[in-house]
Symmetry: C2
Subunit: 342 residues, 2 copies
Amino acid sequence: MNSKADEIPGQSRVTILDVAAAAGVSKSTVSRILDERLPRSDSETARRVRRVAEELGYVRDVSAASLRRGNTMTVGVIVPRLTDTVMAMLYEALAKACSRTGRFAIVATTDDKPKADRLAAESLLRRGVDGLILSTAREDDDFPDELARRGVPYVLALRTDGHSLSSVGDDRLGGYLAARHLLDLGHRRIGVIAGPSYASSSRGRVEGFRQALEEAGLVADPSCIIPSTFGIESGAVAVETLMNLSPRPTAIFAVNDNTAIGALSGLTKLGLSVPQDISIVGYNDIPIVSHLPTPLTTLRVPFEQIASNALELLAGDDGSLDDRIRVSAPTLIPRKSTAPLR
Amino acid sequence: MNSKADEIPGQSRVTILDVAAAAGVSKSTVSRILDERLPRSDSETARRVRRVAEELGYVRDVSAASLRRGNTMTVGVIVPRLTDTVMAMLYEALAKACSRTGRFAIVATTDDKPKADRLAAESLLRRGVDGLILSTAREDDDFPDELARRGVPYVLALRTDGHSLSSVGDDRLGGYLAARHLLDLGHRRIGVIAGPSYASSSRGRVEGFRQALEEAGLVADPSCIIPSTFGIESGAVAVETLMNLSPRPTAIFAVNDNTAIGALSGLTKLGLSVPQDISIVGYNDIPIVSHLPTPLTTLRVPFEQIASNALELLAGDDGSLDDRIRVSAPTLIPRKSTAPLR
DNA sequence: ATCGTTTATGGGAACGTTCCCACTATCGTT
DNA sequence: AACGATAGTGGGAACGTTCCCATAAACGAT
C-alpha cells in the first residue's frame, strides 16, 4: 500500500533527507558528497551515498539550491530572433558551451526592435540569470552601459560597442578576405551590400573590405556601397541599385548570407546568372548556403569559439581581464558563386 | 558610508521584508498584493505597496518563490535543432504564448539522435520545468509513454504518437491541398520527397497526397515516392532518383521546405528549370522560401495556433480533455515554383 | 444592540538546500 | 606520549518566499 507515494504522478519528491536517512548519514554529508563543485570523493561513504541517491531517484531541487547558493547557474542570451539561422547557431553554440560547465542557457528575443532588448533583459533577470549575453548591441544604444551601472554581469557577442566585454568575430579580417578573394579573381569593380551602420559587425566587414581594396591600389567607389538591413529582402533591393550603376560591378560582397541570398534572387530576376555574369560572396556560412543551386562562397565564423570566449569573459573577474574584446578569425570557404572575371 | 550595500554590483538585494518595512505593513500583506495570480486589489494599501516596491526596485526572487510554490512557471521545449528554421519558428511561437501567461519557455536540442530526447528531458527536468513540449516524437520510440508512466506532464507538438496529448498541423490536409494544387494545374505524374517514416508529420502529408490522387481516379506510383530525411541534402539526392524515372514526373511535392530547397538545387544541377520544366511544392513556409530566385509554393503552418494549443493541453487537467489531439489547418501559398503543365 | 459573516492583516512555519561552526577521529611530528 | 594539524561529520541557521492559521476590523442582518 505504499503506492500512493511511489506511483501517483509527482507525489512527494525525494529530498536530501530521504537520501541521508537511507544512507545512514546526515544531510550535510549528503549535500557535500553530491556537490559537483567540490573535488569528487571516492571514500566508502561517498560511494554509498551516491548509490543510494541513484536508487531513490534523487534529483536536486534547483530552486532550493539556487536560493541558498545565491546563483542559478543560468545564463541569459538575447538575440534578435532565432529564425535567423546565424542567431540560432550562436545560441546553440552557447548552450553547448554552457552545458560543459554545468550551466544552462535560456534565450529571449527582441525582434530587432531598438528598445526590446531592455524588456528581454528584464524578463531574463527576473528569471534569475547570473549573467547576460547580448548579440543586439547597437551603435546608437547605451543599454550595455546601463547594465554596467546596475552591476549586471554581461558580455556582448558578435557585435561590440567597443568597450564592454565582448566576444566577436574578426569582421575586418572577414571583409578583407572576401575582398582579396574577389580581387585575386580579377574583379576590380565590386559592389557591397553593407548591412546596417548601427552594427559593429557590418561596419567592420566593410572596413576590412575597403582596406583590401586600398592595399591593391584601388579606391572603393562610395556609390558601390549600399546600406541594408540583415534581412533577405534587403539584399534583393540593394542588388537592384547596384545593377543600375554604370559600369556595373562584376562582383558583390554581401554583409551576410541572408542578403547574399536576397541578392541571388534579385540577380535571377534581372536575368543575370551567378557566377557567369557576376560573382558573389556571403558571410557566416549558414547551413543552407552550401546547398543552394549555386553554392555560395562565404566566410565561416567560429561560433563555438565565440561562444566559449563569451562565457569565459562572463565568468572572469571582470576587472582583472586585460583582453576585454576577444576576436575570433573567420575562414573563407570558396564555392561556386565566385569565378574569375571574364 | 552606505555605499557598499547600495552601489557595489549586486550587493544585498531588496527583499519582500524591505518593501514591507518601507510600506509599514507585514511581509504577508506585500506577498499577497504582489501575487499576480490573485485578483488585483486597488485598495489604498495595495497602491502604496506597489509604489514602494517599484521605488525600491524590488523584484521577486524566482528561486524562493518556486521553492515555496512548488512550481517554476517554466516550460521545457525539446526540438531536434534550432538551426532548422521550422523548429525556431515553433519555439518562438511557444515562447510568445508562454509569456502571455507569465510563463517562460526554455529549450534543449537533441540533434535528432534517437536517444538524445531522454537526455534533453532529464536536463530540463533537473532544471525544474513544470512540463515538457516535445517535437521529436518518433514512431519507433516509446519515450512519451515513459514520461507518462513517470507522471511528467507533457504534450507533443508537430508530430504525434497517436495517443499522447498532441498539438499538430493537419498534415493530411496539407498533403491533400498540395496534391490538389498540382492536379488542378494539370500534372498527373507527381514525385514525392516523402520524409522519414518515423515522423507522423511526413506520413500524414504523404497520406493526404495519396488520397487526393485517388479521389482524382489516379494511383500513386510507389516508385515516385522517395523516402528522405528532413534535411536539404536529402532533397537533392531524392530528386536525382526521381529524375531518373521514366516517364519523368512533371511535378514534385516535398515533405518540407528544406528538402524542396535541396530539390531546387538538384534540379538546377540537372539543367532543369522551375517551373518551366517541373513544378515543386514545399511545406512550412519558412521565411527564406518566399525570397528564393524562384519563390516556392508551399503550405503555411499556423505555428502560433499550434503553440497555444500545446500550452492549453499542458495546462489542462489531463484526463478531463476529450480532444487529446488538436489539429490546426495549413494554408496553401501559391508562388512561382508551380505552373500549369505544358 | 448583538450576532454571524465577510474581509484585511500579521505571525510563524514550511519549502529543500547550502554553509557555518563545533565536534570527534586520525595522523604525523617532535 | 603529547601535541597540533587535518579530515570528516552532524546540528542548526539561513536563503526569500508563500501559505496556513489566528486575530482584528468592518459589515449587514436580525
